[in-house]
Every structure is written in structure tokens, then in C-alpha cells.
């Protein structure tokens, strides 16, 4: 983990209420997909934890949904502005256990961390199947980006306006996979847990105080004891989760 000042070099609306940031700076503490960064915004006391979408050399891509005043302010920030960011937080996904045919399942704001996982897997010659779930067509993003990596991409929308009608679990039927990685709202994670037929890794979201394990604000119970989502997670193994 590191803190530093980063320069916003791109801020683009990519879907309904959804923005893509590219930051430039020292990314040396980011080592795995599924990690997150914690952003200080002027006028707000606590930082905003945002998952890493991709990280290459000194560039960091983040995608966030506007859910309140803080992310609202982030959506209006101008290219060239600087931000105070803590980087390299959380454990991230362990891709070494992915096997030959991993499945990546992202829902809404849980889609971004799947991108770095997909890119790193495809660079190892593994083409994952990707399921991306959204509410409706206007919220869909990154379908083409995943396709460019050579992934087999299935989109689901709750209202059926794009791709398969329903939830990500509707798209899991008939897919063979060796292992899975998932991130999304908790009801989705629970549904994936119940439907899945292999081991896998789940990335959880929780309101955090510090984001680096000091305050015990985001603790949860697991079969392996109490864990802090921010420090010991956000990624938990299927075998340790207690719903």
C-alpha cells in the first residue's frame, strides 16, 4: 500500500451514471486484479474505495458509478486535476488457480475488476468466459473491451433490453468452467454461490472507514475467523464464506 498524488488524465462517461477515470502516477503497489484504491475528494471526510479496472505501467483505469455526492463530485472533475489516492489495497484475486476455462462474472459496479483479471488471463493464453450483468441497456459498458481480449462475452440485463433477459445466473446455464471469479452486489454473489458447481473467489463490498485494516469498520465472519473486507479481503474464497 502507498499513498500519493495522481493526475487525472481522462474522465469519460461510458454508460448511464458510469464514469471511466484514467490516473497517472506510481502504481508499483498494485499487484493483483481485484485490489482497490481509496480516493480523497475535497470536501468529503472519508475516502472513496474504488476497485481497480486495469493497471499498466503508470496508468490506472477506474470505473465508478455515481451513487452519492462524493462520486458525483468525482464525475465532474476535470482532466489535469490531481487527487490524493491510496493504492494497492486489499488482497485481490489469485489467478494461479484459474485452470483452463475460468468463468468471470461481474454485475454492475462489479464488472470493472473482471477486466484486469480477463486481460492477465488472456496474456497467459487463457480465454475466460465472461458474464456481465446490468439493469438495462443504458447501463451496459465494456462489452467490446472484453471481446477485444478474445473472451466469450455474455451480457444479461434485468429488463431484457440487451443480451439475455434476467440475472447473471441465467447466463451460467450450459457453461463449462474450471473455476470462477465474481464481483457484484451481495444478492448476486449469493445467487452465483448457490448456482456455481466449482470452487471460486468472491469480491465483497462494504462501507469502510480506513480501507487498510486499522478501524475494524468492515469486518465479517468467515469459516476461517473474522476478516476485514478491506485488508483480508475484499476477495474471499467460496469455501470460507458464511452467508
Amino acid at each position: 500500500m502507498k499513498t500519493g498524488i495522481y493526475t487525472l488524465i481522462q474522465n469519460k462517461k461510458i454508460a448511464e451514471n458510469t464514469y471511466e477515470w484514467v490516473l497517472m502516477g506510481d502504481m508499483s503497489s498494485i499487484s493483483r486484479p481485484g485490489q482497490f484504491v481509496n480516493i480523497k475528494i475535497d470536501g468529503f471526510y472519508l475516502r472513496r474505495p474504488i476497485s481497480v479496472c486495469d493497471c499498466r505501467a503508470d496508468r490506472l483505469t477506474l470505473i465508478f458509478k455515481v451513487v452519492g455526492d462524493g462520486t458525483g463530485k468525482m464525475s465532474r472533475m476535470k482532466e489535469g486535476e490531481t487527487v490524493d489516492v491510496m493504492t494497492g489495497l486489499g488482497n485481490g484475486y489469485d489467478l494461479s488457480v484459474a485452470g483452463e476455462k475460468p468463468l468471470l462474472i461481474g454485475g454492475g459496479a462489479g464488472v470493472p475488476p473482471m477486466y484486469m483479471a480477463a486481460r492477465l488471463l488472456s496474456e497467459k493464453g487463457i480465454k475466460p468466459t465472461v458474464i456481465l450483468g446490468f439493469g438495462n441497456e443504458s447501463e451496459v459498458f465494456y462489452k467490446e473491451e472484453f471481446e477485444k481480449l478474445g473472451c466469450d462475452v455474455k451480457v444479461t440485463t434485468v429488463d431484457g433490453s440487451c443480451g439475455i433477459k434476467g440475472f447473471v445466473t441465467n447466463a451460467m446455464d450450459g457453461i463449462e468452467y474450471s473455476y470462477f471469479y465474481t464481483c457484484g452486489p451481495e444478492p448476486m454473489l449469493k445467487a452465483v454461490y448457490d448456482k456455481s458447481t466449482t470452487e471460486g473467489q468472491f469480491s465483497f463490498e462494504e462501507r469502510m472507514g480506513c480501507g487498510f485494516g486499522a478501524c475494524m469498520g468492515c469486518s465479517c465472519k468467515t469459516k476461517y475467523g473474522y476478516k476485514r473486507i478491506c485488508r483480508d479481503g475484499p476477495v474471499l474464497l467460496k469455501e470460507e464464506i458464511i452467508w
Binding site: 499513498t3 471526510y45 472519508l46 475516502r47 480506513c210 487498510f212 475494524m216 469498520g217 473474522y226
Partner: protein, 304 residues
């Protein structure tokens, strides 16, 4: 050359800056970021006799210039603190530490203190009778003079180390409680713990925190804290550890002028993990700016 030294219950600190309990874990997360031996001391995560998971989540809510927390004293229990956490803390921190202890009965307080008393490296006990986030203990001791005195007296009997009582601001007259603790044998007073608050999630039409209420901390609390330190200083002779929204060297000086011999930095550590380091680094030049040569000279200066 200015002197940032201060004395707390007979132990000299290199500077008055102490991370507050519950915002600094057992120190080792922060030791990854900087050498924490620059601190005056460190008050470790509130420890109870038995392990506690604490409250359900959400436990944290942002507020204007601060935050609410309702962690609920999550800790692995005193035995595991002694066997697992303190060895890791003492690996990275070589000065006397403050052992923060909470309980739900007088026996729990005394038994926890008794077990920690044998640990080398503990300089003071900070007895938390003011946690607003637990039921049937914590703050209920800190809002009643008689109960506060009973805890103080009982803990006083089981250790020879300095006993500092951490007070709740959620009372009508904090000076009365402080005096009761002093009469019962306390060596120091620390204040303030968090202010009881609430935030409603207007979308869900329900309190945001699972515990419904939480403790307010951060800069929003500073004027209340400074006022209470000032009042308690006039009422007691024992030293005071002041805290509440401290973010800068100027804030440290303000609390000391109000009457604090040392200070604790809490919520700031969560937002800026370098907060204590930055304050300690800034202290000498800010002292020079205000014509302060010896920091100890300004304790209570605002009362003259």
C-alpha cells in the same frame, strides 16, 4: 532548538502525540508506512476479557467534517491480545504503550487489567468507561459518577501502573465525573470519547448504521472536546490526555493550552495514515511560529 517533550503520569514522552485507541489497531499496519517509533506513545485497540466480533455492518457512516462509527469493541480478547497482537506491536514499537481496556462489569475490567499488568512494555492503562457502541457496559460506567468511581477504584487496586480513565462527553457535567475518578485514585483523565450520533438513510427510511446510533469523531467534534478539556483542567489536578478531531500541530497546541498534557489523534489516522507523522514533523516549526520553546510550558496556558 524547541522541546516537544511532555510528561504523562511520571513517564516522559518525546512528544505529546498518541494515536487513539481503535484508529491504529496494534500499530503494525502503520509500521508498513513509516517508523512509528517517532510517536509519543500509542493507545492500542480496546481490549476486553473475552473475544468480541462487535456490531453488524454497516458500522461506518460519513458525516460533515467527520464520521460515525459503531464498531462495538471488536477485539480478539485479552489472552489473544497478549499472545498474538502485543508481540507484533512490540516488534515495531519500542516505547511504553497505553493499554486501552473496556468491560461490561467491574470484574471484567479488573481481570483484563490484571492479565495485562504482567506484560512488559505497557506504560499506562487507559480505562474506557465511555464506549457508546456497546450495550450494558462501556458508556454506562462513564455517565454515572458513582459507577465511574467504582471502576476506577477497582482497577486502581489491581495495578501499580498509572491508570487513566477515558471519559464520555455524553454527560451533562463532565467535570463531576472527572472529579469522581480523581477522588477514586485515577492518575489521569483522557477525553473525549465519541459523541453519540445518528444518520438516517433517507432512501431506506432507516438509520444507516446497523447499530442505529454511532459515535461521532473527526474535526466536527473538536470545539466540544477543547471546551471539555478546558473545564476538566479547572476541576482536577491530575494530567489530561486531550482528543477530538486533532488534525494538525496547531490543534495539538490548542488542546495543550486548554489543559492537556498529551493528546490523542483518532479519526485522522483513518483518512490520512500519515497524520501522526505529519503532525510530529510539523510541531517544532509551528511551535517556533508561536514563540513556544518548551511545549510543556503551554499546558493550561489558556487559563491564565
Amino acid at each position: 532548538m524547541v522541546s516537544t517533550k511532555t510528561t504523562l503520569c511520571g513517564i516522559t514522552l518525546d512528544n505529546p502525540v498518541i494515536p487513539a485507541s481503535g484508529t491504529y489497531g496494534f500499530g503494525y499496519e502503520f509500521a508498513e508506512l513509516y517508523d512509528i517509533n517517532i510517536l509519543g506513545s500509542l493507545s492500542f485497540k480496546g481490549t476486553t476479557l473475552n473475544p468480541r466480533f462487535g456490531n453488524p455492518t454497516p458500522r461506518i457512516a460519513e458525516t460533515a467534517c467527520g464520521m460515525l462509527n459503531a464498531v462495538g469493541l471488536q477485539n480478539p480478547g485479552v489472552d489473544k491480545v497478549i499472545s498474538h497482537e502485543l508481540p507484533k506491536l512490540f516488534e515495531v514499537f519500542k516505547k511504553p504503550v497505553m493499554a486501552n481496556v473496556s468491560g461490561f462489569s467491574i470484574d471484567e475490567y479488573t481481570e483484563t487489567v490484571r492479565r495485562l499488568d504482567t506484560v512488559e512494555g505497557i506504560g499506562w492503562f487507559e480505562i474506557n468507561i465511555s464506549c457508546p457502541n456497546v450495550h450494558g457496559g462501556g458508556m454506562s460506567f462513564g455517565t454515572d459518577e458513582k459507577a465511574a468511581a467504582e471502576v476506577t477504584e477497582a482497577v486502581r487496586r489491581v495495578t501499580k501502573k498509572p491508570v487513566i480513565i477515558k471519559l464520555s462527553p455524553n454527560v451533562t457535567d463532565i467535570v463531576k465525573i472527572a472529579k469522581a475518578c480523581e477522588s477514586a485514585g485515577a492518575d489521569g483523565i483522557s477525553l473525549i470519547n465519541t459523541l453519540l450520533g445518528m444518520k438516517i438513510d433517507i432512501r431506506r427510511r432507516a438509520p444507516l448504521l446497523a447499530n442505529k446510533t454511532g459515535g461521532l469523531s473527526g474535526p466536527a467534534t473538536k470545539p466540544v472536546a477543547v471546551r471539555m478539556v478546558y473545564q476538566v483542567y479547572e476541576g482536577v489536578k491530575i494530567p489530561i490526555v486531550g482528543m477530538g478531531g486533532i488534525e494538525s500541530a496547531e490543534d495539538v497546541i490548542e488542546f495543550m493550552m486548554a489543559g492537556a498534557s498529551a493528546v490523542e489523534v483518532g479519526a485522522s489516522n483513518l483518512v490520512n495514515p500519515y497524520a501522526c507523522r505529519d503532525i510530529i514533523n510539523d510541531l517544532p516549526k509551528v511551535m517556533e511560529k508561536y514563540g513556544i520553546t518548551k511545549l510543556e510550558d503551554i499546558i493550561g496556558a489558556a487559563h491564565r
